[in-house]
């Protein structure tokens, strides 16, 4: 199957009365996070290309969302009342694929096909290729605008789903992010939570050396958003902030998640070299030992 003739998310049908279950799990989230990290490094090593740093930094964010916050049905990806998760930082696709496979959207064995010809797991997120992927991304800066559209449609249709958009920090260099930030406040989109994976690094160096974003919290606040600051690897803080964001009325909410790029693998942590480089066989072995 090629990406172009595979599942087109927009054509999916869904009925509310089918016996599909909303995803629920009582598993210890820390062990989920470890499994996700193991998938990420393994699949990127197998593909011999991809972006480990920004996939690893957002593991706890995704875990909190998919295991505790989002209402979603892996057996019915188009369920119309699902909460929507939009990966704006499309290069973190290995994280999203690991999450979707663990939740049961597609077989875990498929993870090893990442970036191969005809795979459903394209190099960057592609809504026309992968069940559970809400939006195509890879060109940074576009996801928040899309998320606003989805949130506005929810409001017009009187549906009570919530929309979550995961952005990266370097991505906030893009003007479109701030166009969207203004619009979300103007339109009082309060069924939207944005999460910024604030790992301090972008492709070629530190944010503050390339294009400083600081003061990032104040910027979002000045654009009319409800801002919360959390340790992006602390699941309790994340869950708390995500719950509180749901209760904000009349304005959009953003969570600035302070993270470490490459988190969990010592030689990748805070190392810009592993923004977009695969580990070799020896490095993979070390990484998997650390992620036991």
């Amino acid at each position: 199957m090629t990406p172009s003739d595979s599942n087109n998310a927009s054509s999916g049908t869904s009925a509310d009365n089918v016996k599909t279950e909303v995803f629920a799990s009582n598993e210890d989230l820390k062990s989920v996070a470890i499994r996700l990290r193991r998938h990420i490094v393994t699949m990127i090593a197998k593909a011999d290309s991809g972006h480990p740093g920004g996939s690893l930094s957002a593991v706890e964010i995704a875990t909190a969302l998919f295991w505790k916050v989002l209402r979603h049905k892996p057996s019915d990806p188009q369920w119309k009342n699902r909460d929507r998760f939009i990966l704006s930082k499309g290069h973190a696709a290995p994280l999203l694929y690991s999450v979707l496979a663990e939740c049961g959207y597609f077989p875990m064995s498929e993870l090893s096909t990442l970036r191969q010809i005809d795979s459903r797991l394209q190099g960057h997120a592609d809504r026309t290729a992968t069940p559970g992927v809400e939006m195509s991304s890879g060109s940074l800066g576009q996801g928040l605008s899309f998320a606003i559209g989805v949130a506005l449609a929810g409001r017009l249709n009187a549906q009570n789903y919530r929309v979550y958009a995961l952005l990266s920090d370097g991505e906030c260099d893009e003007g479109q992010v701030w166009e969207a930030a203004m619009a979300a406040a103007q339109f009082k989109v309060d069924n939207l939570t944005a999460i910024v994976d604030n790992n301090g690094l972008q492709l070629s160096g530190r944010n503050r050396d390339i294009m400083s974003l600081e003061p990032l919290n104040e910027k979002w606040a000045a654009f009319g958003w409800h801002v919360t600051d959390v340790d992006g690897h602390d699941l309790t803080q994340l869950l708390d902030a995500l719950e509180k964001a749901k209760k904000v009325r009349g304005q959009p909410a953003v969570i600035i998640a302070h993270t470490v790029k490459g988190k969990g693998v010592s030689f990748m942590e805070n190392n810009v070299d592993f923004h977009g480089k695969a580990p070799d066989a020896e490095q993979l072995e070390t990484a998997l030992k650390e992620l036991a």
Binding site: R127, M135, A153, L156
Partner: protein, 313 residues
């Protein structure tokens, strides 16, 4: 001369009619509602109208999110700003994502007039036609505009519709029926074919009338859908008339002319001439002065037909 009617005014009023029938129709604009004429919809359905401010990239992204959630968004601005300002957003968030977004842009071509080069889109068709799955349509008068807007609202898939600023004479009758992907024979003929779009269709008809006086029997095809283009009509014209002139208010590179040339080169190469903008930017002036300056008039089409006929085999 037939009555001249504004295509964008017709666009705005057609949106209101569609909005009454279909609650899923929503409209976005980027601070140009009095110019694109989405203002009528804004007045009638304020809760379904979103003005994003001067932020075209964001407009396209929001439109794609609305489309992914079952809405039928029409997003409008000037053609220099969409696709011009937000090509990447159209590429990834609309075309690659295969979302049902309708981009209707106004103020294309040199007939924008006094605002000059920055505001005269002459490359928008090259940009939009390059994107897989995007339907590209250029209406030639107000009657056709109404039919086109109705058709794209029903069609499932991303569309780009190009409208001029200028008023144009109605060249179609009230019972005109539009079908996506079908050329319209405006005038039969056997000596040569003029294939035209938009503003140039009326000019082509005038040219054909002029040529008839010299005994040249010129076919005129209106090619409202540039993509997917009506290959059958083009190949038939090449076979039956042996010479083709294309006429468009767009750069010669990447618009109607190069598309037609590609098709006849493959199926039946016949001599061609191109009435188009020749790799220069526009400038300020009156629309008619500019059409003359850039050689986009009936007279230029007449000259091109005479030339192409000389080269017939």
């Amino acid at each position: 001369m037939a009555e001249e009617v504004s295509l964008r005014d017709t666009y705005g009023k057609t949106l209101v009619e569609l909005g009454k029938k279909n609650p899923d129709i929503v409209v976005l604009d980027a601070d140009l509602r009095p110019s694109t004429m989405t203002k009528y919809f804004a007045q009638e359905f304020p809760e379904r109208f979103f003005d994003v401010g001067i932020a075209e990239q964001n407009m396209i992204g929001i439109a794609s999110g609305l489309a992914a959630s079952g809405k039928i968004p029409f997003a409008s601005t000037f053609a220099v700003f969409a696709p011009g300002r937000c090509f990447d957003q159209i590429r990834v968030s609309v075309a690659q994502a295969r979302l049902n977004v309708k981009i209707v842009s106004t103020h294309c071509g040199v007939t924008v007039g006094e605002d000059g080069a920055s505001h005269q889109a002459l490359e928008d068709l090259a940009l939009t036609c390059s994107l897989p799955g995007l339907t590209v349509i250029v209406p030639a008068d107000a009657i056709e505009t109404a039919r086109v807007i109705e058709a794209v609202a029903t069609h499932v898939g991303p569309c780009y519709v190009r409208l001029p600023r200028a008023k144009l004479p109605n060249i179609n009758s009230d019972d005109y029926r539009f079908e996506i992907g079908k050329a319209v024979t405006m005038r039969p003929g056997k000596d040569a074919t003029v294939i035209a779009i938009g503003v140039m269709v009326a000019q082509a008809l005038e040219a054909a009338a002029e040529l008839a006086k010299e005994g040249i029997d010129c076919r005129v095809l209106n090619m409202p859908t540039l993509k997917p283009i009506d290959e059958t009509a083009i190949v038939k014209a090449a076979e039956e008339t042996g010479a083709i002139v294309t006429a468009e208010e767009h750069q010669e590179h990447g618009g109607l002319g190069s598309t037609v040339a590609r098709i006849i080169a493959k199926h039946n190469p016949v001599p061609m001439e191109f009435v188009a903008v020749k790799d220069v930017f526009g400038m300020s002036g009156k629309p008619n002065e500019l059409l003359e300056r850039y050689r986009l008039t009936a007279k230029d089409i007449v000259g091109a037909v005479r030339e192409v006929i000389k080269r017939k085999r």
